[in-house]
Amino acid sequence: MEDFLLRLQESDFGVWVSSAPTIFAYPTILMLHTVGLAMIVGPAWVLDVRLLGYGARLPVEALRGAFRIMWIGFFINASTGIALFISEADDKGLKWIFWVKLLTIALALVVTTRLRRTVFGSGVASDVATPKARTLAKASLFLWLGAITAGRLMAYIK
């Protein structure tokens, strides 16, 4: 395992990402990872607080488009995340907090797809969230916060 991680990190691509003396390598990839974060978590939280009753005059149906922004953000962050991981595979891959982050994101994705099916799956979305939708909204709120927290802590926890 560690041998594999080391080979990833020392691959041409891994070395380019981590050490190419250009702003377009590590800095830009890391920046895009933050743009993607905002595109995923921002719309997710807007939908979550609406489902939990805030801004009730806003038709939930109007937020259907949020998922398109979230998926674009997710595509950006999966791609940039893989690139960032390869560049520091031998470090990040051995950190428990990295696997906590991945687990949190996996759970958040499950919750998000279930939320979409529950709220938008059958015709026009209802403006009153069912108890199930509210539970999923709460889970989404905390899981995305957890993913951000674990991601940030990757720079600090050995």
Binding site: P27, M31, V41, W45, V46, L58, P59
Partner: protein
């Protein structure tokens, strides 16, 4: 002058207190700063998209009801950002990229001020389903670009220009 101010700030009791807590304070503030940016960009971005002509069926005033959440995000980021700057003033004052971030912040703030004072009432009066005037689309575009600029400059801070003020 900036150098004097930075070194004075660095020796103030509040800065020293932050510096001594840095082991846990810095990661906590960073986490809040990232959550805050997601909240701010998510809510303000939705409002900008509405002004650009998305979600036309929803009255602008209804989308605006979410703006307090953007303000929560902004306040969190202003507070945590101030903690960063007070802890390590020279690291920021000496970095041109930080000033680019501040410039984008000023543009975003001035743009929001212009919207509130000159266009707020007019925007609220636009009936649902009607196209927004070019002036509001420009304000929305400036808002999106300047907040994105704040994020990009913020993220580039440690990589671009960090060496410039190393002696400060």
């Amino acid at each position: 002058m900036l150098l004097t101010f930075a070194s004075w700030l660095h020796r103030t009791p509040i800065s020293l207190a932050f510096q001594n807590q840095v082991a846990w304070l810095w990661p906590t503030c960073e986490t809040i700063h990232f959550a805050g940016l997601a909240l701010l960009l998510g809510v303000a971005g939705m409002f900008d998209l509405r002004l650009l002509g998305f979600m036309k069926r929803v009255p602008i005033s209804v989308v605006k009801e979410f703006m307090p959440w953007a303000l929560v995000g902004f306040t969190l980021n202003l507070l945590t950002g101030m903690i960063f700057v007070i802890s390590q003033p020279a690291q920021y004052f000496g970095n041109p990229t930080w000033w680019v971030k501040v410039a984008f912040l000023i543009v975003a703030g001035a743009n929001a001020f212009v919207f509130e004072t000159a266009y707020g009432r007019r925007a609220a009066a636009i009936p649902a389903g009607e196209d927004t005037p070019m002036s509001l689309k420009i304000i929305a575009g400036v808002s999106l670009i300047s907040w994105l600029g704040v994020l990009v400059a913020g993220r580039f801070l440690p990589f671009v220009g960090a060496g410039v003020g190393a002696g400060l």
